[in-house]
Symmetry: D2
Subunit: 255 residues, 4 copies
């Protein structure tokens, strides 16, 4: 993954896209990957799926460290053409990449949000620095953006669409539902939480400061996407911070 990212050439976001990413926290790039290519991608992912959690409904494929030329080329295209340059506006790195597949019945609880509780070794804060962001002189400076490339259609409520909490990427107050209840799915149907629909091949670029999740999938078939997470170059690879370990040189994230 050490190719020069100037190839393919970076493209800039348009005025409408910049306004929308700033105010809504996400944009949808329709037809980023040709639908006919997605069959090949799904076939390449096939041997990589690993079951996650105990539900039997969720599968993850780690593509970050693979050297499959497929994913390497896609990562370079995503970095260049999805808006990562215009939303980070600093030297950046790919810090995480994986594919996710959900079968019927699975949902993803609401998580993240600019002002949610950030537990630490020494107390708690309602501002998580790893997903904070600012604006200066016409440029956005996000600490983490994620690009999702859809490998299946999610065009109705039954398909378990991605949902975002309106304005949560700039929230000053904590989300008003306790974390314990959020983790069980509370808030997914709250006013101000709305679905984002996408078709196979569409790319969703997301400010990771958004509170987001996905509705239960009840229609037949799988719901699959590949995710690429980008951050300023000084940020280490994404991994959760182990609870209870506060080593001076340990590295990690905690929500």
């Amino acid at each position: 993954m050490d190719d020069d990212i100037s190839n393919p050439l970076p493209t800039r976001l348009g005025k409408e896209e910049l306004y929308d990413f700033d105010t809504r926290g996400f944009i949808l790039k329709e037809g980023f990957v040709k639908p006919e290519e997605t069959d090949g991608i799904l076939a390449a992912l096939e041997p990589l799926w690993q079951q996650e959690g105990g539900s039997g409904l969720l599968f993850r494929a780690p593509v970050f460290e693979t050297d499959l030329p497929f994913f390497r080329n896609m990562a370079l295209r995503v970095a260049a053409e999805s808006g990562v340059y215009d939303t980070i506006n600093q030297p950046f790195r790919l810090i995480e990449s994986y594919a996710l597949r959900r079968a019927g019945g699975s949902l993803q609880a609401l998580h993240n949000g600019r002002s949610n509780k950030n537990e630490s070794a020494f107390g708690a804060s309602n501002r998580a620095m790893w997903r904070d962001h600012t604006y200066h002189d016409g440029l956005l400076h996000c600490m983490m953006v994620k690009a999702l490339v859809y490998l299946s259609d999610v065009t109705a409520l039954e398909d378990g669409p991605f949902v975002v909490v309106e304005g949560s990427h700039k929230a000053n107050f904590p989300f008003p539902i306790p974390l314990s209840r959020m983790k069980k799915g509370a808030g997914l149907d709250r006013p101000g939480t709305s679905p984002v629909y996408a078709r196979t091949g569409d790319l969703l670029l997301l400010n990771e400061a958004l509170t987001h999740g996905s509705l239960p999938k009840t229609s037949p078939g799988d719901r699959t996407f590949i995710a690429f997470s980008f951050a300023p170059s000084f940020v280490s690879n994404y991994r959760k911070l182990a609870k209870g370990s506060h080593s001076l040189s340990e590295m990690g994230f905690r929500e």
Copy 2:
């Protein structure tokens, strides 16, 4: 360096210290290390000094990766008692540590600043994310703080004191002197740039967003300190980003 940092126990900053660190960008903790201990520290550093640059006046000792119990204990004390908790307010890591020795004639040009030009692979921005900082609900959130433990007295202009540009850690406009001239020492005597004096054993805690440097040392003897840099846990070890390399997974910093 994998001891639990809860030992020694963290201490909080007082109201005056919090106000001063927020408004001025630094605080001085007098007598952090007993002067009588500093002889031992200097002796331990003796075999580690490496000449830096071509001037013959500047020496650096890399103490980050050493397992000298001396430095490990000092790093733990600095982390716990100098204000790192209260200025980062997130899980944090030690990302850099070194000692620096300047001989007569040496100066350090002004550098950093919240709004100085941040060159990147794809353009330029006047906001460097690795030294940005914010405040929320009574808590400071700095992306990088540096603690300097003084091993020599710097009590007069001739001793080459540390200088800070007043308010530069919250500057909105770029520093009004071109980088090429700053690098040659311009601005060190500008109104609004003022010296910070310290004695052997004092600790200076610094918001790395400050524009700072040090005046020429013209008095006899060396000017020596040990530096410890702390950042949120998701930040990688400090190193400069190589120019010309834009690998998708490269990690680093650039000023």
Copy 3:
């Protein structure tokens, strides 16, 4: 209007309301006025209506300076119970009050927004101070909030509902449609612009930094509300700044 506002006693917003007002820029208080009272209010307004513009579809009733006990009591209740305290968090004043009636066919173009062009005598800025707002230590500080008390049902698209541009009260970039086209109704159907429905007696509290408007009313009957605008006490009564006059002591607003 010189009664003490501590009577009726102020009530605070709940956690959900604070989160929503902060992230969405508005909240709806259902049943703020009993529907049976609204007949009396409409009757009191009857002699006050004045036609506005040349369309014959829009009428305004100036209630700010009246001493009708009706409106005085309502203004006191709105100030105390709609969230004005919790969204300004400073000494405040009523700076404007009027009723508005739209007949079928009328719409209100999108206007306001935190980052729209703010023309002035000497240039232009994308930040209008009279509708700016901030947050500090758990408190919102809005420069202008407006409470609308609905005197008719607006429960379907045909009723010409109020629309808001999601996140526009915290926008950093200007709205991406030119002002000349906005004034003709452009943008009302843009993704991210959504309707807010209300019933007779409901109160809508609005951050005036939101880009907002109303859809065309095509259903029978009138669409009527009373508006109360509040601002910090040092703000003068609302009126548009005359173009071309730049007197040093002139007072006013300009969008």
Copy 4:
């Protein structure tokens, strides 16, 4: 005072002045008024002085409402040439003007500050909106700036110079000295509080969010200046908010 302010023509601040006003909260314009003119100004003020407070050491001359051509011309020049345009960047007004004369022994306690307690009818906040300020896209947006034109030399500590608390115009925490003690002069000699010297005819432009005061004057002679306060056009004339009166239409300021 209803002349067009485009005459004299506005001049812009330089890059150094903008940086300094932003980071330090003030700039000094040397020789704004020719020293030989100041005799005439002092003579014109002579009949206007009114004793203030019970000390017999402080005198105020209200020049805001006068139509003395002297002051009208000076107000127009100050508005155009001292940096008011570049620090408000909105349509603005003159909201206050007065001359102040201190005799030997008089001091002015520290007051203002962006984060000091702002008492109101309904609670307290650590952010006073009437002196808040922000920055957007290269432009400063101050809610109140004050220009002081010096009519006497203040070039030594004995002359009772103006003092500013470094960085206080961007403070997040309240000033760490209780208001009751500040009012008695505490904090004037605190580290981080520094004097600003000026000569007869110099103009000091000040962000009113700064915590500032003046040291005791112990040298012979008077210390005299004229002050002009500017604010965005929607702000009413400066006056303190009466305690205990919470009329819905009352207008005013409170510290």
